[in-house]
């Protein structure tokens, strides 16, 4: 398995990047549309959009009923592309995802029937309910952007986004994603319970009709490709690169963490920062982009030391707190001047 194919950021051939204004307009349109579905969750929406534009994949981890699937479907509805949804169950087979070759008696040949993974946006609901074998089939697609069945390689659609949801409690009969698999997702978010007012408004809005059904696509696939191309053009200065590396290094040296961030996560952190900068109307990344995304991008990849092993024997807190602390104590590089 090669990890290089999907990591390169070769220019999207034949796609003209948007101007800053066009980009902001398109980004705002998507945000507006999604925020109309998910009341009071602008952060989750922003992160989802950032991941989409940064060509990553999104893992949503939360208790049932807070809108994981709604967020995934809202994102899919905003984009006028092929959307498929896979409900992961213990008996799901890899072929149910990738597709199978079927023998056609009329032609006497095997014909490939594409699975649900052949879509622009794939929603994988409750991914931890499938067997590891099936999980890894999806993860390989995410990684390589192509599917090989019976020795024949089929390229997946572009852009390609997997939004997987996972239920952290009710673990009976589930196969939690191993750390190595979690590392494939650019970001992991949880949505959280809505505020009182938001929840009340939700009651009223959904009384008669599901707003999701009324949502109209605001961007088509060529438009999305142009946005992605724009993100790729965003400039990352050496100082910002160093900042991202310093943070990643710090996670590897921190006594509260048993497993630090991988080099892949540094790459994805910078890529996500590009998307955030573009959404902010900038054509360059600033350290604040890194700061804002560090927790979202890094938290699900690192592992805390067990409390009993911590040098002080004190509770190490939530992993987000550890990442926040690392970000707060990492010096921010400023290019040297001739002072």
């Amino acid at each position: 398995m090669s990890t290089t194919t999907s990591e390169t950021t070769a220019p999207v051939t034949g796609v003209i990047p948007m101007t800053a204004d066009e980009f902001r307009e398109a980004g705002d349109a998507i945000r507006r549309a999604m925020n109309s579905i998910l009341d009071g969750k602008p952060d989750a929406v922003d992160t989802a959009l950032t991941v989409l534009l940064a060509e990553g994949h999104l893992l949503i981890e939360d208790v049932p009923g807070v809108g994981k699937t709604v967020l995934a479907r809202a994102l899919a509805r905003c984009v006028d592309g092929r959307v498929s949804r896979i409900q992961f169950t213990p008996d799901l087979l890899p072929a149910d995802i990738t597709g199978v070759s079927v023998y056609r008696q009329q032609t006497g040949t095997f014909e490939f029937t594409p699975g649900p993974v052949f879509a622009h946006i794939v929603i994988g609901d409750e991914i931890n309910r499938a067997s590891p074998k099936t999980q890894s089939a999806l993860l390989e697609c995410m990684e390589e952007g192509q599917v090989t069945v019976d020795g024949r390689t089929h390229t997946l659609a572009k852009p390609f986004l997997v939004v997987a949801t996972q239920n952290p409690i009710e673990m009976e009969g589930t196969y939690a994603l191993p750390e190595a698999q979690r590392d494939r997702f650019m970001a992991c978010i949880s949505i959280g319970y809505p505020a009182v007012d938001d929840e009340q408004r939700m009651l009223r809005d959904r009384e008669r009709v599901s707003p999701l059904d009324e949502l109209q696509p605001v961007v088509d696939i060529p438009g999305l490709a142009r946005m992605i191309a724009t993100v790729r053009e965003v400039y990352v200065s050496p100082a910002v690169e160093r900042y991202a590396v310093l943070i990643a290094q710090a996670t590897r040296d921190d006594t509260a963490l048993r497993l630090g961030a991988s080099p892949r996560s540094t790459l994805q952190l910078v890529r996500a920062a590009r998307a955030r900068a573009a959404l902010d109307g900038r054509d360059f990344v600033v350290p604040d982009d890194i700061d804002a995304l560090a927790t979202t991008v890094l938290s699900h990849r690192v592992i805390l030391v067990p409390r009993a092993q911590h040098p002080d024997g004190r509770p190490v807190g939530h992993v987000d707190e550890v990442i926040d602390r690392i970000v707060a104590t990492t010096p921010v590089p400023v290019p040297a001047s001739d002072d």
Binding site: L246, R258, S262, V305, T330, V334, P335
Partner: protein
Amino acid sequence: MTARVRAARPAPTAWWLSVAVLVSLGAALSALSVVIGEGAWFVPTMVTAAIAVTVAAVVRRLVPAWRVFWSVVAGAVALFAAIVVQFAADTALLGVVPLPETFLRFSLLIREGELSIVEQAVPAFADDGIRFLLAAGVGALAVASDAVVAATRRPALLAVPLLALLAIPVIVAPGALPIVSVLVTAAAFLVVLALHRPAAVGGAGGVSRLVAAVSAALVAAVIVPGLLPTAVVGANPAGTGPASLVTGVNPVLELGNDLRRSSPVEALRYSTDAEGGVYLTLSHLAEFAGQQVLPVEFDAPAVPLAELSPPTWLPDELTTGTLDTRISLRTLRTQWLPLPQAPATVSGVSGEWVIDPAGTTVRADSGVARDLTYTVQSLVAQPTTEQLRAATAGGDGLEEFLQIPDGLDPSIPQTALEATSDARTPYEQAIALQRLFTGGQFAYSEDAPVEGGYDGSGADIVAQFLVERSGYCVHFASGMALMARTLDIPSRIAVGFLPGARNPQVPSEYIVSSDNMHAWPELHFDGLGWVRFEPTPSLGVVPEYATDDILIGDDFVPPDGEAPAPDETDPADPANPDGDTDPADPANPDGDSDPDGPDGIPDLVDGDDVAGGLGSDGGLLADPVLRSNLIVAALVLIALALLATPALWRASRRRRRMRATDPLIVWREVRDTARDLRLAAEPTRTVRELGAGWGVDIALVAPLVTALEARAYAGPHGEGVVAPPVEPVLAALRAAVPWWRRVLAVIAPLSLIDREPDDARVVVTAP
């Protein structure tokens, strides 16, 4: 990727840090053992400091906010209580709560301590005053050091109190600094630095900083005392004013150091009718201990000083007249009043004094004599050579002056016997002994005893001195006195001043400097009393009766004859006598047959060849008071310049930056200004976070932040971005803090010493 499981490393705790601070201070304090000899002072001082620091550390851990402030307050209160309990429990309510009387006691203790420091010679006895000053001073240092180390990111500042403590023995007793104390102090200091190292820092940078800090501290410890002018620090251990000459209970102890001063100070002046001036005596030493000769012990009531009882040792028939001497103390601070030989009355002095039973020396009952002017009428008595030749050694009640210490090196009586083999009478023996020293075999040197390790005056020293044959007055006086005792001649050592140099402006006035401190032996002859001899080559005035021509058997040379001492050819000695003129000689009142001049004292006017004499550089600087004032003024100027240096440096840096248009440079100025004003400016915060965190109008800062971000992070697009006007931002920053922080920003700009972490300064270039 593998999960790395790290070994559990105990996190440094504040407790250990406080303990390490205490240990380092204790080690530095132990170096004072060479300055403060007797008395239990170390343990009580450290216990006091430990109590204060412990309370401070506990409070720092307990209180939720303002930790440093409350811990310092608590530490100070605990320190105060500990001192009250130790030194003034009887004046305080329940032994702890201070009453007005307690503070009165404190002021008395402070005064007592100051006086002790001035009066006592090294090593001093740790009386209540010294112990009080030590406990209060070290306790305060401990609380402050603990707070600085615990609360700031600069634990290296601990070096300041440590060096201050170590500097005391370096200055007061040069060369005696115990190396173990220094090593333990340095080790404890390193431990503090190591414990303090925060987890986020570290690596090679941390180690190199540590090495640099320690090196700087050691270099400073070596260099600083050398740079200080000795006239300022050496003479003034008590820190009570300009350069002065201080003599303690035993004036002989510091005599060598006084002689070795690089710039002598004026000790006193006197006017007298005696031709050539007079010897002035401070005190008499008689008991030969191992390394030192101790003063004559006597117990007498303190009385107002007026009429002294006639000297019991001086037979009336010898007295030939009286002599008036008006003495004015300049920088001299002494327990013993300088008096000419055989004083009869002293006028012009108030207060209570202790007079020795023989009526020759006077000691202050408490405190020191300073800034006194008094007149002494003394008896003039001069034995003739015939009387001396006929006299027998000894007298009644002089056992004290014949005592020979146990375990005396046999070479001393041996040498005495050999030198006096031809002598027939005690007097001839004395002259022979004197000639042993002045005959050319012995050399005068103020430094040789220090280098040879026999700088002292006791019996042990004498034996080595006889081998090395080089020393200064103390050695010659001790040597002759001790050897005289082995020949059963009662002897003592007088410590005082040579006649000094004649003041060219005022007739009959003499100026005595610290260089003129002197020691000489006095031998007792039955019926004649104490007779002064001068065994020190090339120094002092040899009494005419003691010129060694006397020794030439029956060929007696009359007193008026030419009888130059072998030492008189030294032209560099300001007090070099001609050898034939007793300064107080009444037997030769009507003139001097000496063809070399009317006196043996060179005048300052034509004294170009005078070396080491006071005022030899002439002019304004001849006045020691003026000179010390000039030194003080210069020091004040230097201090002011040092204080102003950071502000000037900072201002020049600001001007340079404000001329720039590069947002990177302008931003440095903004951030440093915030740092100076003690606003948050950590390098771990992004530009936006900083701009938003200062409490100034965000709209004011935003243009600068935008410009800086473009310049710093937008690559080629950001080049050429020009910074917006920055003065409003700086003004807003200043307006956002209280006035005292603005003052701090000017006099102590933190940005000058705060270095950014190396990571943040790396020049990052595009690959």
